[in-house]
Subunit: 150 residues, 4 copies
Amino acid sequence: MGRELKGIYQDKFQREIEIPIRVRYSETDQLGVVHDSNYFRYFEVARMEHFRSWGNPYGELERSNTLLVIIDMECKCRSPAYFHEILQVKAWIHKMTRFRIVHHYEITKNNKQIIATGKTVLASVSKEGLPIPLPDPLRNVWLRLRERKR
Amino acid sequence: MGRELKGIYQDKFQREIEIPIRVRYSETDQLGVVHDSNYFRYFEVARMEHFRSWGNPYGELERSNTLLVIIDMECKCRSPAYFHEILQVKAWIHKMTRFRIVHHYEITKNNKQIIATGKTVLASVSKEGLPIPLPDPLRNVWLRLRERKR
Amino acid sequence: MGRELKGIYQDKFQREIEIPIRVRYSETDQLGVVHDSNYFRYFEVARMEHFRSWGNPYGELERSNTLLVIIDMECKCRSPAYFHEILQVKAWIHKMTRFRIVHHYEITKNNKQIIATGKTVLASVSKEGLPIPLPDPLRNVWLRLRERKR
Amino acid sequence: MGRELKGIYQDKFQREIEIPIRVRYSETDQLGVVHDSNYFRYFEVARMEHFRSWGNPYGELERSNTLLVIIDMECKCRSPAYFHEILQVKAWIHKMTRFRIVHHYEITKNNKQIIATGKTVLASVSKEGLPIPLPDPLRNVWLRLRERKR
């Protein structure tokens, strides 16, 4: 996450992303619906895709000394999702502090019927597990996004 | 869930349960720790075990017209868990209303080091997805547990 | 799976399908690679997508009295796959008898580097678990595919 | 995996292990049975438990330069397993060559009704992915086990 990545962060980053995920058979349970724990896996897919859209695959962050670990996660399930349905999974950064990133999520189907909403809090830690500030390039994207919004 | 189950509920039920779960290799991720979504699976194992200890396997509830579906779930991750560690997963009923059960959870290792804490809210619904009151026997256990506590 | 579905099966069905699957973070293990059990989940996604391309979502088969259950599965892992790589998962019907369907699979990345190959055998059973012949429409597609090949 | 582990390997190791695994709700699919991919996760739990019974947690092997990676896996599913059933998962070493370990598995319930049987082949590779001979202590356990059998 050194200076060499800075260029990548200069434009075209978005605050949110929305991706389609088709429910897999293996993700259903005997109730005939998506097993709830999978919503966090869908959230993760969207979150990672979002980082990727910023030119910053999560893998690179990990290979540097910065780990983003989940310290808080929440999900409210509004209505069930079924095998082979296509869900729209939206993820966006709600807040970024020096040490944390708060994502919000919304899963819908069939033109905006809400399936689930959620939240995760990522903490920036070193490989040794100690808190370290988020890399500057990441912070800078956020600061610019906030300005743009105004 | 008719009258025939009532007898089973008459004694020996506890408000909480604690079970050991050994971390499986397949539950780790490339960070070398338990993938966070699995905590909800551990919570579920403890919750089901707790229902079972009441003489009321979850499967029976499902075979009746009562489904307990998750409408809210939360988890705070305090420190990581690793492959082949034995975790203690504690689940207890925090509250039961006519239509909902709120469970709380705590996962520890090594004599009380906290790994994660959590919460789920189950709603009682019919097979058609409509809210129905929780079965009386279940409610009665809860009411007696509350009395006992005083 | 009665006569009313016959029309759907008349053309455009292919013997094989190839779909891209991007490796999810939750699918890696502490070795830093895709956990092997996930290959069967990828195979399943491709198999289901293939049924779907025939106009016959697997869900419909299940809602009729015909279940396709796995009785045999194999996978040879040639080289590892990593988080965020895009894998090409190819599935094709190798053989169909009156009671069974044999699928073969091949997972590649980076223009044909082989990650894994596999096989599953599905048996056609009734909801009661007894063997029943595969629905005629499904058999007919297969017979026409075989002719076309010659 | 140096000399210091040798002592541990001197006795009490068994060729096979049998452990109980209770089916989790999250392991079922919408067919109402254990999703087939989970059998490989159960096999893995038994295999790891077996290594552990030899005084050689898999984690230690990994921390040394020796990785055991799956190159072949097979499973035959004979009859379904259901939520909350207790399965007996038996694993044993069928063969060990200089570079490979072949495990066989059998999952039963209710006093020997067979649910699934399986096989995995592990290859010994370095962290760089190159074949390296299995550590001597591991090989020696195997050689002694074979002698004992005669």
